[in-house]
């Protein structure tokens, strides 16, 4: 089989690593580590933006990479860790017991979801001059795995992180399909994320004040 070329290969590898980190978040038992994985995933998308900027000569993307790096690698993870810190101690609590199925089955189910996302996006047949089709399909797989993460874990931390990484998946797709998009639109996406952070912050606060735990299991009851 002919080789895909170094630029395409690098973009695909970065996308594949982001998908692997998504799976890492699915398996991770500690909130602290989940937040770290989210930060790493966000760092990767900045790296991808820089790679595309350098190869396709799109200077706008450098600014986007810097902006999204500051927000998603530094600010959002810091905020999340502050929010999830327990009121008494300074150590974030574990969410190991929040699985609705065993970790190995969760990964197998997520592989199925990823396959569905990968092949349904792949069959769209979108080809852009900016970036390879495989990376777009991987972004599709990431969207489904992020939804899977929010379904199989019953704690507010995983729900928030699943939602934020969903935004990472969409950024990846937009970078792949339309890297030449005006900077203004790209920053608008980032402000969507900020809005989501604020909303989730309020939800997490309200939940903590009510139930003193990160688990969402007691929300299924009709009365508190």
């Amino acid at each position: 089989m002919s080789s895909p070329g170094v630029y395409d290969g690098a973009a695909n590898v970065i996308a594949a690593l982001m998908l692997l980190l998504e799976f890492g978040m699915l398996r991770q038992a500690l909130v602290r580590d989940q937040v770290r994985l989210y930060a790493a995933q966000s760092a990767l998308i900045s790296v991808l933006a820089i790679v595309i900027a350098a190869d396709r000569n799109l200077p706008d993307l450098y600014a986007l990479a810097a902006l999204s790096g500051t927000l998603k690698v530094v600010v959002v993870p810091l905020l999340l860790r502050r929010l999830l810190r327990s009121p008494s101690g300074d150590e974030t609590p574990g969410v190991a017991g929040s699985y609705t199925m065993s970790p190995a089955s969760a990964v197998l189910a997520a592989i199925g979801l990823a396959a569905f996302g990968f092949f349904s996006f792949g069959s769209l047949g979108i080809h852009s001059p900016q970036a390879p089709a495989t990376a777009l399909a991987i972004a599709g797989a990431m969207v489904f795995v992020a939804f899977g993460l929010m379904i199989v874990r019953r704690d507010v931390a995983s729900q928030a992180i699943g939602f934020f990484s969903l935004e990472n998946a969409i950024s990846l797709a937009s970078l792949v399909v339309a890297a030449g998009l005006p900077l203004l639109l790209e920053t608008a996406f980032l402000f969507d994320l900020l809005l989501a952070v604020v909303v989730f912050a309020m939800l997490i606060r309200a939940h903590r004040a009510r139930s003193e735990s990160l688990s969402t299991a007691d929300l299924t009851k009709l009365r508190g």
């Binding site: 089989m1 002919s2 080789s3 290969g9 695909n12 799976f23 990964v107 990823a114 396959a115 991987i138």
Partner: protein
């Protein structure tokens, strides 16, 4: 150094290099691990002394064990010594016997060896040996799908499942190395190798605690030269798996492309260096991760499976381009 080495001799050298270097690799890994733990550790040559000592000892068989109990170590070592004929150990070009079998053929030989040892463990009637072989068979069934998907990746990349062809494809351009399918399949294979050589996730390689024992328990009832063969066999298996990882997947450079003596000697040196480098990485990994509980092994296998499956996925949609 311009003398041409006859092809049959090169083929023999492939087997001899693996056979002679395998115990040394185990010694090196033990030494590096001990150093990382702040101990002085055994000599690098210690496995050779151990084998020599065992060969001189008396061999005993449990009452009621049939002839197969003593034949199994021979079958296992014979299978392990056949594999170096099938994979690129020293040369970039396929040697005449190299096309006897493909990657699956090599896999069957590895399974045959493990099967023979498991049957011998059953023959012995010892509960620990039986426990070890039962665990080994169960867990190899769990890692089997990962290996199959790695083979699928190779098949999709090269159109064949011959190890020589994959090595040549990887050597052909940088774009082949950076292809996600290749990196994911190599990572999955590495995880399987860590499991198969008893490093991660549950075994302690020195094998003195029965709870985490898989491979080591199987040879409990063997003694003397037969135990030496079993030990040598597991060292051979480790060296062969490292060779497949390095010479087929990760760094298929440094192999001899001609029959010249200088090239072949250089290839032997390169192989030893590559195996030692993989061994050092394995030692660091072995020392820096905690062992898991036995039944957590499914989580480890599912992670490796994830890598292998994603590797195959990315090959669709225009071959990862």
């Amino acid at each position: 150094m311009n003398v041409a080495v006859p092809i049959p001799l090169i083929q023999l050298l492939q087997v001899l290099t693996v056979a002679l270097a395998a115990p040394g690799l185990t010694g090196l890994i033990a030494k590096v691990e001990a150093r990382l733990q702040g101990r002085r550790g055994p000599r690098v040559l210690q496995p050779y002394y151990d084998l020599a000592k065992l060969v001189r000892k008396e061999a005993l068989a449990p009452e009621g064990a049939s002839w197969f109990f003593l034949a199994a170590p021979l079958v296992a070592v014979a299978a392990y010594l056949t594999i170096p004929l099938l994979i690129p150990v020293l040369t970039t070009y396929g040697l005449p016997l190299g096309y006897m079998g493909d990657i699956l053929g090599g896999g069957f030989l590895l399974s045959l060896a493990s099967f023979a040892v498991a049957v011998a463990a059953l023959e012995s009637g010892s509960p620990y040996a039986q426990l070890g072989s039962s665990r080994a068979k169960t867990f190899s069934a769990i890692t089997e799908p990962v290996v199959l998907f790695v083979v699928f990746t190779v098949a999709l990349l090269t159109g064949t499942d011959l190890p020589y062809h994959l090595a040549a494809t990887v050597r052909s351009s940088a774009g082949q190395v950076i292809r996600p399918a290749h990196l994911l399949a190599s990572a999955a294979l590495f995880m399987v190798i860590l499991h198969e050589t008893g490093r991660i996730p549950v075994e302690t390689h020195t094998g003195t605690s029965e709870f985490g024992m898989i491979e080591e328990a199987r040879s409990f009832e063997h003694s003397g030269p037969y135990l030496a063969l079993l030990k040598w066999g597991s060292e051979l298996k480790q060296f062969i798996l490292f060779t497949i990882l390095a010479d087929v997947f990760l760094v298929p450079w440094g192999l001899a492309s001609t029959q010249r003596l200088g090239d072949v000697v250089l290839a032997i040196a390169a192989l030893l260096a590559k195996a030692a480098a993989v061994g050092c990485v394995v030692a660091v990994i072995d020392d820096s991760f905690a062992k898991l509980r036995l039944f957590k092994i499914t989580e480890y296998a599912s992670a490796a499976f994830l890598l292998a499956v994603l590797g195959v996925f990315t090959l669709y949609l225009g071959g990862g381009s």
